[in-house]
């Protein structure tokens, strides 16, 4: 009964198309609320860091984008499993529409990290383990996008992409730990990262709110792209004609 309801409302392209139209305004409301609170509290109300001064406020963009960069890849890998095992059409659409959003968030995390690093560490880039693994995550996203862009047949594109995403998610922890190993073996970070024992609650709440805001933003963009993709793939079916006319 429940499964049937889920299938009807979310998993079939038609159900998703109608449900997402209903969900989008709610998501937008949540996004605006979280974003405004995070922005105002983060930029104006939260006190300046005692070591980093006002410069630390870039954390409210940097941490959410880095968090989403990883979360989106994980979501893509789960969708990839659903694509290969259950042949869920909507999971494949979720996966292929997520990739470029994830790539942009990864890029944003790298760029804001660089901008943050310049005044704090004195350099735009250090070959720190975390930075390097995020860079490699960007390469994984770009490889996925490149593979999807050259395959014309949708079902082949979905399955090939799913295999690559699964290979990526098996390898990501290995890559991450190998980079940590490489980093400690060659040399310690020349400029030690500023010790942050634990973030104060006044700084934490706007950060959590910003993470939620970024997440809602991702969902909004994702749903819009997925609706486009559904129209593209199903434009010959009867229900599209009925919905659009």
């Amino acid at each position: 009964m429940l499964l049937h309801w889920i299938n009807q409302k979310f998993l079939s392209p038609k159900g998703f198309y109608t449900t997402s139209r209903f969900l989008l305004p709610w998501l937008a409301t949540c996004f605006i609320a979280c974003f405004l609170y995070g922005l105002i509290d983060g930029l104006f109300i939260a006190p300046a860091d005692y070591q980093q001064g006002e410069g630390f406020r870039i954390i409210y963009v940097h941490v959410p984008s880095a968090f989403l960069a990883m979360l989106i890849y994980l979501g893509m890998a789960i969708a990839a499993m659903l694509t290969l095992v259950f042949r869920l059409k909507i999971a494949a659409i979720w996966m292929s529409c997520s990739a470029s959003i994830g790539a942009w968030f990864t890029f944003l995390a790298l760029v804001t990290g660089s901008i943050w690093g310049k005044p704090m560490w004195g350099t735009w880039w250090i070959w720190d383990a975390r930075l390097t693994s995020v860079l490699i995550l960007l390469f994984l996203y770009l490889g996925f996008i490149a593979l999807q862009s050259v395959i014309a047949n949708p079902s082949q594109r979905d399955k090939a992409g799913a295999i690559l995403a699964i290979l990526g998610v098996i390898n990501l922890p290995i890559i991450h730990y190998s980079v940590i190993w490489w980093n400690t073996l060659h040399q310690g970070p020349t400029i030690s990262q500023l010790a942050k024992p634990s973030i104060a609650p006044v700084m934490l709440y706007p950060l959590l709110s910003m993470i939620l805001a970024f997440f809602f933003f991702y969902l909004i963009i994702l749903f819009l792209r997925m609706r486009n993709q559904i129209l593209l793939r199903e434009f010959k079916t009867q229900w599209i004609k009925e919905t659009l006319s």
Binding site: L84, G143, V150, Q156, I163, L164, G168, I175, S178, W181
Partner: protein, 224 residues
């Protein structure tokens, strides 16, 4: 019975590739030339070359293997053998495994044999040379196994030779790191068991996953 069929298949695959000298000589020549490019670009300072030798040889080996991977399934796909593999009574995973083994024998063994000579050019001692070859011996099968997944994913595509390196290179990073850091550790007098164990563990992991994923990818590529 199964083992015999597998051995026969590896044997024929090797013979077929060996007869086309161009296809296995090109990556080998490429390997030599890439190694020679580094001293030309960075200067012939002995101490410098000695510190970066392992890195140079590893990078050159990775590039040469990437170049060779286009040959892994392409001929079979063009001439229709892939469909026969799919229809045969042997599991496709095993067929893929045989192809990877024969690929390693044809492309990587000559590369391993050439490494001592090139390492001499880069000023490595006998002991370092030995360690380097051991790491390559453990690492190159992993490169071939992971590469097989990429080659299978791109087998039916027109842009294969461009796309394949982009897809696969991020996955080569751990092997590259552990392969080269073994020599750094050897020079600082550390025990090397852990390094070899990790390389071997990566190999076993790929041994378990890669042929299966590659077979899955081939099936998708061919069914269209």
């Amino acid at each position: 019975m199964m083992i015999k069929a597998l051995l026969t298949m590896i044997h024929y695959e090797c013979l077929l590739t060996l007869r086309q000298a161009f296809s296995w000589l090109t990556p080998l020549l490429f390997f030599i030339m890439v190694v020679c490019f580094f001293p030309l670009a960075l200067g012939s300072d002995h101490a410098l070359l000695h510190t970066i030798a392992a890195g140079i040889i590893w990078v050159a080996a990775v590039l040469a293997i990437l170049l060779s991977l286009n040959n892994l399934f392409q001929r079979d796909a063009q001439e229709g053998y892939l469909e026969l593999f799919l229809l045969s009574s042997y599991p496709l995973t095993l067929v893929v495994f045989c192809k990877v083994v024969s690929h390693w024998i044809i492309y990587c063994v000559p590369l391993l044999l050439l490494t001592p000579v090139l390492a001499l050019l880069l000023n490595l001692s006998f002991y370092e040379n030995f360690i380097l070859i051991l790491t390559l011996l453990l690492g190159t099968p992993v490169l071939c196994l992971l590469g097989a997944v990429g080659a299978a994913l791109t087998v039916s595509l027109r842009h294969q030779s461009l796309l394949l390196p982009i897809l696969i290179m991020p996955f080569y990073i751990p092997i590259l790191i552990f392969g080269t850091s073994t020599l750094v550790a050897a020079n600082s007098g550390q025990l090397l068991n852990g390094y070899f164990a990790i390389l071997a563990a990566l190999g076993l992991l790929c041994f378990a996953f890669a042929p299966f994923l590659a077979a899955l990818a081939l099936r998708i590529g061919v069914s269209q």
